[in-house]
Amino acid sequence: MLEIKTNPFDELLAEALRAGPGSAAWREAVAQLGTVTEAADEYQALLSARENLESGKPYRSVRAGAGFTRKVMDGLDHQDTGRASRGIPTAPIIAVLAVIGIICALGWLGIHLVPRPESGHGGLSELANTYFSTQIAEATFDGSIPASWRQIGGLPLEFHDGLRPGAAGQSPGGGVVLATPLPADEPFAFEAQLRIAHSSDALVAQVFVSSTGDFSQDRATSSHELLWTCRGKAQEVVLDGRVLPITSPPLHDGSTVQVRILMNLTRAIVEVDGQRLWAGPYDLGADPRWLGVRFIRSGSARSGGIELRSAKVFKR
């Protein structure tokens, strides 16, 4: 059994394996291998595997295409634009000192006239770069609704290894919502994983953030909300009933999609499977945010098969 020791040969071999054939360490390790008696076969096998990797070095070697580079440069331009108002001065030192002098003179007034930035007011790039590391809610819906979530609407729901819509009766819509709304000025990430067994135009699934929480009994909808929705194989992003322009690939039956909504007080990003569908300013006011997932049937039949596998909420 090969054991890693801290003897000089093992250190030499480790460096040879990293540096590869042709390196000085490799030549020396191969030369010394002839004097090694213990585990020599295993050492030889390591060198052989390393040689094969050397030959396979182009494996998964990719380069940026023109489209990729354009996206990156556009993103940089966007950052520059966002920073234009507070760009770092490159003027001579004397000019900088003059500016500092003016700032000092007006400092006291500035403190009182300029409102302090509040958390949750950041721009899109700040939102996109926020680490949402603290999970504050999670639901897997196996057997019942977790305590921190509640049911909305009148459509029967089934809980077994996920949340599924039942057959429509009196009410076509129903879903679940986080029982306690989140403060509007605190950025959050809402993630919902949905499995699309078989899509149907008669069944709509929506991942939403509402600022009113006035969910109707029949459709489980509210008056002010930003949502991702899928009907059949098509997906849309909707803000207060207005379909926002997006370009998105069609969904596939048998797939599992991860919908992620990032939001602060004024900006939101909607992603599906890590791909950004839409990002921009929105206006849902300063009221607390209700996070949830709903299903809406357009007929009584149990057509379509979509289930909510999990829902998670993160904050910074």
């Binding site: 093992d10 990797l53 396979g56 998964r60 070697s61 940026a64 996206k71 940089l76 770069n129 890590g274």
Partner: protein
């Protein structure tokens, strides 16, 4: 002061670290050069670690946008490559935690070059040698690379494919060099077993 350590040289011949210093002084052209120098290695690292081209593209963009946005956090004389790969690795880890792998759904929308051949271990092996048996060995090792535990795969990708030293890997991963060497041994040992399968007597 860091700025005094640099000599005035044409932009194209400037070191990575000097380009970053210029980037910190709002020189976008300097950052564009850094992007040209590192985009392929960053994207290839992501492809090797994540295996999903959609993730590679989205995280790859994020790496460079974040590097530019947080350029002020780079401190000379840290190697620029180490700083950049630390960002790349952290984003890759976050992405891995955020989602499980999903199949490539719409490859026509991707904006990367070279993936058509380099993504197939058998095509890579075929280009490496005319020896049919050797081809099989190379392809088996590349296929087995994907099945390695992440920590062993990472040290092989960083050390062998990205050609980083143990010291650089130590900085990037926060893992001691002795542990990285051990992972290199054990990772290669597993890969060597994948080749051993074809060498069994008939």
């Amino acid at each position: 002061m860091a700025g005094e350590d640099f000599k005035a040289v044409p932009l194209g011949r400037a070191s990575d670290e000097e380009l970053m210093r210029r980037t910190q002084q709002e020189d976008r052209q300097a950052f564009s050069l850094l992007y040209e120098r590192y985009s392929a290695s960053v994207l290839s690292y992501l492809y090797r670690m994540l295996g999903n081209l959609e993730d590679v593209e989205s995280i790859g963009q994020e790496v460079f946008l974040r590097a530019f946005r947080f350029r002020a956090t780079y401190r000379y004389p840290q190697k620029l490559s180490t700083w950049l790969f630390t960002i790349t690795r952290n984003l890759a880890i976050n992405q891995s935690r955020r989602r499980r792998r999903s199949p490539i759904r719409n490859i026509t929308e991707l904006n990367l070059d070279g993936m058509d051949i380099s993504g197939d271990p058998y095509q890579v092996a075929a280009r490496a040698t005319d020896d049919v048996e050797k081809r099989e060995e190379i392809a088996r090792v590349l296929v087995a690379l994907d099945a390695l535990p992440t920590d062993q795969k990472e040290v092989i990708v960083l050390g062998i494919f990205q050609d980083l030293s143990y010291a650089e890997m130590e900085d990037i991963t926060g893992t001691k060099a002795v542990t990285l060497r051990s992972r290199m041994f054990h990772g290669l040992k597993r890969l060597s077993r994948s080749v051993g399968v074809v060498e069994e007597p008939e």
